[in-house]
């Protein structure tokens, strides 16, 4: 009996989680052209919600996120390219608004450091391996 109750709670929790996720982008926001809507969704997924900073505006139900989603759709309707839309947003909010930091001189360390570590690690292992083979 107790087990069933627990299951019910878990299913309930799961459903609550599922609904809040799908509610972020509201139906009235959808564009008529599914291709354009898809483009808008793709852009939204890469844009940080500046209110709840670790969410994309596609996930966020903050008011400002909604405003930005509508703005992206309006820009698409006006015939802007994806690049123009990203530029419009970074001009106002900086690279911070992009969830993927762009590759620039100021971010090169961020992008290359993991590969550097990998290469160093690789050589250490190689050296160690050679040594143990000789032994």
């Amino acid at each position: 009996m107790k087990k069933i109750k627990l299951y019910n709670y878990l299913i309930g929790l799961f459903l609550i989680g599922a609904t809040t996720f799908s509610l972020s982008v509201e139906p009235e926001e959808f564009m008529k052209d599914p291709k354009k809507e898809l483009r808008a969704r793709e852009i939204s997924k890469n844009i940080r919600c500046v209110v709840c900073q670790n969410q994309s505006i596609d996930d966020s139900s903050a008011q400002l996120a909604k405003d930005l989603r509508l703005l992206i759709r309006q820009k698409i309707r006006e015939g802007n390219t994806d690049k123009q839309i990203y530029n419009f947003l970074t001009e106002r909010y900086g690279d911070f608004i992009l969830l993927n930091p762009p590759l620039k001189t100021s971010t090169i360390f961020l992008w290359l450091f993991p590969f550097g570590l990998f290469v160093i690690g690789f050589f250490i292992i190689l050296k160690h391996h050679k040594k143990s083979n000789i032994n």
């Binding site: 400002l64 405003d67 703005l71 911070f96």
Partner: protein, 177 residues
């Protein structure tokens, strides 16, 4: 030689740890948000005036004195708390205050300003929040300091409080010199 190489990850680890500690210990607010506007010309904007729908408030406001652009709304409680400090600033010489009323109802705002006092020399209306996006707004209240040349010098996110008022005003005083 081959033993020394194992020191490399240890050293790297301690380096990393010291970086983390350094960032923890220095006086830094990680939630502080960057602004693109600092040291740039104030963004172009056009807002209908709250008190006279025929009048348009725009960038012509900048260029003579220091202008504070304050985004506020009557539905925003921190704005209400901040209002006394905005009023205090409006009494200082050489500062002009422009209010941008964010996603609000005109009638309610007029009432609110009547009741609380109106420190603004002009109030523009931003019904759909598009002016806010052009200024790179994160949330209200938010205050921008525009110097005599129309350049944004400072941005203050959140309500100005008793604690932060002095620091905020010192930023403006620097520009007066």
């Amino acid at each position: 030689m081959n033993k020394k190489i194992f020191l490399v990850p240890v050293i790297l680890f301690f380096l990393l740890i010291s970086i983390f500690f350094y960032l923890l210990l220095i006086d830094r607010d990680p939630s502080e948000l960057p602004s693109m506007l600092i040291n740039k010309k104030a963004p172009q904007f056009k807002a209908e005036s709250l008190f006279d729908e025929q009048t348009i408030i725009s960038n012509t406001e900048f260029g003579e004195e220091i202008v504070l652009v304050n985004f506020f709304a009557t539905w925003c409680l921190p704005c209400r708390a901040e209002h006394q400090f905005i009023k205090k600033l409006s009494n200082k010489p050489g500062i002009k205050l422009i209010g941008i009323n964010y996603k609000d109802k005109n009638e309610i705002t007029k009432k609110w300003l009547n009741e609380m006092g109106n420190p603004y020399s002009k109030v523009g209306v931003d019904k759909n929040g598009s002016i806010a996006i052009d200024w790179g707004l994160y949330g209200i209240p938010e205050t921008y300091v525009v110097d005599k040349n129309g350049i944004v010098q400072y941005k203050y996110i959140g309500p100005i409080t008793k604690k932060t008022y002095k620091q905020f005003y010192s930023q403006i005083k620097k520009l007066k010199k």
